[in-house]
């Protein structure tokens, strides 16, 4: 029952979403009226590159090969998947001939270190505070926190990042305005380097941490208030079960269930709003890589980042779905 009604549908959905997403990535540039090859040449010219008329055909065919535009649409589609399975996302155009996958892998540790950590930490902190605020929702401090969350919550990541940057880096000068570590430092596991990384990533981390904690705080508070009204909580209270037990084993444990599902989706949100935070702070992760790719019109790189993020998000959602039954016996023993 568990296999058939829970696991298999999710695995099918996982595969289908990846196929759908990657197919979309493949077809979008091909169905839109603009020819990426001609557009790239136009952009090279616009940047002042001198292109010899005689070499034009060669450039065009090179570009076509690079973009995987040879042969019929179907051939291109199959070749696209074939390369994907070999982990080949093509080469970057503006850092020719570095493979896109290498650029992503260089930027990934920075992004994982900043965004993954803060997203998960934000989840933990938000749920913890939200849980207590929901249980003690009549208390003054709970209302104050609620009011703060009401103001912070709707702000987009970069607006909030800007606000922090203006106050702490520009006005108070407590933190550096940009970068991932001090210029000229080589990445290593030495203490000065780690220290510099932490110091540089403090503001970007705080801006993501506070925002995501605010989101989880609000949802958790609401869920807890609803769980609090459930009959099993009333029953436990009317049976004199100790308050500590009611909070931890009855209220928080049940309220966490929808939050666990939410965590999967929020890991996906890393690839939307949170990436922009990196741009605001010129932090050398995937967001900044994406920004440079857009500035330079490096279409392969953008496609590569998109394909990579589709895989990363769907996989993280799947992992959360697979973990979920451990927390909910109703799924485990269907």
């Amino acid at each position: 029952m568990f296999l058939k009604r829970y696991l298999i549908p999710r695995l099918i959905q996982y595969v289908l979403v990846i196929v759908l997403g990657i197919t979309a990535v493949f077809f979008i540039p091909r169905l839109l009226p603009n020819d990426p090859v001609l557009r790239t040449i136009a952009e090279m010219r616009a940047r002042g590159a001198y292109l010899e008329p005689g070499a034009m055909d060669k450039i065009i065919s090179d570009l076509q090969q690079m973009y995987g535009l040879e042969g019929s649409l179907w051939d291109q589609y199959l070749a696209f998947w074939g390369r994907l399975f070999r982990g080949d996302l093509g080469v970057s155009f503006f850092q020719f001939p570095t493979p896109v996958i290498d650029l992503i892998m260089t930027a990934l540790p920075w992004t994982a270190g900043l965004l993954l950590t803060t997203t998960i930490l934000g989840w933990v902190i938000g749920n913890l505070i939200g849980g207590f605020a929901g249980y003690y929702s009549n208390k003054q401090w709970s209302r104050v926190l609620d009011a703060i969350a009401m103001v912070v919550r709707p702000l987009p990541y970069y607006i909030f990042a800007f606000a922090l940057l203006l106050i702490f880096a520009y006005y108070l000068r407590w933190f550096p305005i940009s970068g991932g570590a001090r210029l000229g430092m080589r990445p290593s596991w030495s203490w000065p380097f780690i220290q510099s990384v932490l110091w540089h990533s403090f503001l970007p981390a705080m801006s993501i941490l506070i925002l995501s904690a605010a989101v989880w705080f609000q949802t958790m508070k609401l869920v807890v208030q609803n769980v609090n009204a459930e009959s099993f909580v009333t029953y436990a209270k009317l049976s004199g079960v100790k308050e500590g037990r009611i909070v931890s084993r009855y209220v928080i444990r049940n309220a966490l269930l929808p939050q666990i599902t939410g965590l999967g989706l929020s890991l996906g949100l890393i690839f939307s709003g949170a990436l922009i935070t990196e741009i605001v702070y010129s932090y050398p992760g995937l967001g900044t890589l994406l920004y440079n790719a857009i500035i330079n019109g490096d279409y392969n790189l953008i496609m590569g980042i998109t394909v990579f993020s589709i895989l990363a998000i769907t996989t993280s959602v799947l992992i959360v779905d697979l973990i979920y039954p451990l927390f909910d016996p109703r799924i485990r023993y269907m």
Binding site: V17, V25, S266, M303, T306
Partner: protein, 284 residues
């Protein structure tokens, strides 16, 4: 009207409604602007706020106050187009999925689930890059609308599912009402408030995405929007150079707009159902 009076007693709604009215009035001022928003160099550059230029001027030689009126107007136009069009898609998908059920439901919900998981932002960036030349207020609004319906279609579907169980559906079917009539006469009144509250959320989402795309330089940068104003401010290093008035204007305006829209939607959905607020994770 009673609904509106009840809502006004909620301080959040009253505040948000007031702020929104002010912002709309501000946007309407753009029709009286003495400057052409698409032309640069009309005023001296980089002036501090003064009696002549209330919010100063920028490095493009534009008056920030009047540019901002256009920016709010254009951002709102994009948001309204995106919101209204995606509402139409969401309503159709949600109602068909909820009412028809079966294969229709599975296929439509697969698509909307996929849209929730796939990194839409990057897909939109890819598309925006390719059609950058033809990206104006309307096409951007439509592009966002095309991607922004999934979550709300789900909400509408689940409401239709619960309405379908109610008695009047059976009565209407037995008395031979057509599906179309049933949906319009019986379901619409119940779903309208939900559609309205999701509209507000969606508008906030669209404005957020517009600003993001602009910061990435993917929009027509000669058209003032909240996003393009920020783009130019960043581009000219306004923070480093101490031109705070230039950065503060679009930031303050968008903060006010986001908070107002959010409070509006929270107070409305809490009024409709005190137990569940419509939640949408993140705004951009």
């Amino acid at each position: 009207m009673k609904l509106f009076r009840d809502l006004l007693r909620d301080y959040r709604f009253a505040f948000a409604f007031g702020v929104l009215c002010i912002l709309v009035a501000f946007a309407l001022l753009s029709f009286f602007s003495p400057y052409d928003p698409s032309r640069w160099g009309q005023v001296p550059r980089d002036l501090r706020p003064s009696a002549q230029h209330w919010l100063g001027t920028d490095s493009n030689g534009q008056d920030i106050f009047w540019t901002a009126t256009f920016a709010v107007r254009n951002s709102l136009i994009i948001a309204v187009i995106a919101g209204v069009v995606s509402r139409i898609i969401a309503v159709i998908v949600g109602m068909v999925a909820g009412y028809k059920g079966g294969t229709w439901d599975r296929v439509l919900m697969f698509f909307s689930d996929s849209l929730l998981v796939i990194p839409l932002f990057l897909i939109i960036v890819m598309m925006a890059m390719l059609i950058r030349a033809s990206l104006n207020l309307v096409t951007l609004g439509l592009l966002l609308a095309f991607f922004g319906w999934a979550w709300d279609a789900r909400l509408i579907r689940s409401q239709i599912l619960s309405l379908r169980e109610r008695e009047f559906t059976q009565t209407a079917i037995l008395s031979g009402a057509s599906t179309f009539k049933l949906v319009i006469n019986e379901y619409m009144p119940y779903t309208t408030p939900l559609i309205f509250s999701t509209l507000i959320n969606n508008m906030a989402w669209a404005i957020g995405l517009e600003i993001t795309l602009a910061i990435l330089g993917l929009l027509d940068l000669a058209t003032p929007t909240l996003g393009t104003m920020l783009y130019w401010a960043i581009n000219y290093q306004a923070i480093l150079l101490g031109r705070w008035w230039w950065v503060m204007t679009p930031i303050t305006l968008s903060v006010a707009l986001f908070i107002a829209l959010y409070w509006l939607s929270v107070s409305i959905s809490e009024y409709l159902d005190p137990r569940t607020r419509v939640q949408r994770v993140g705004a951009g």
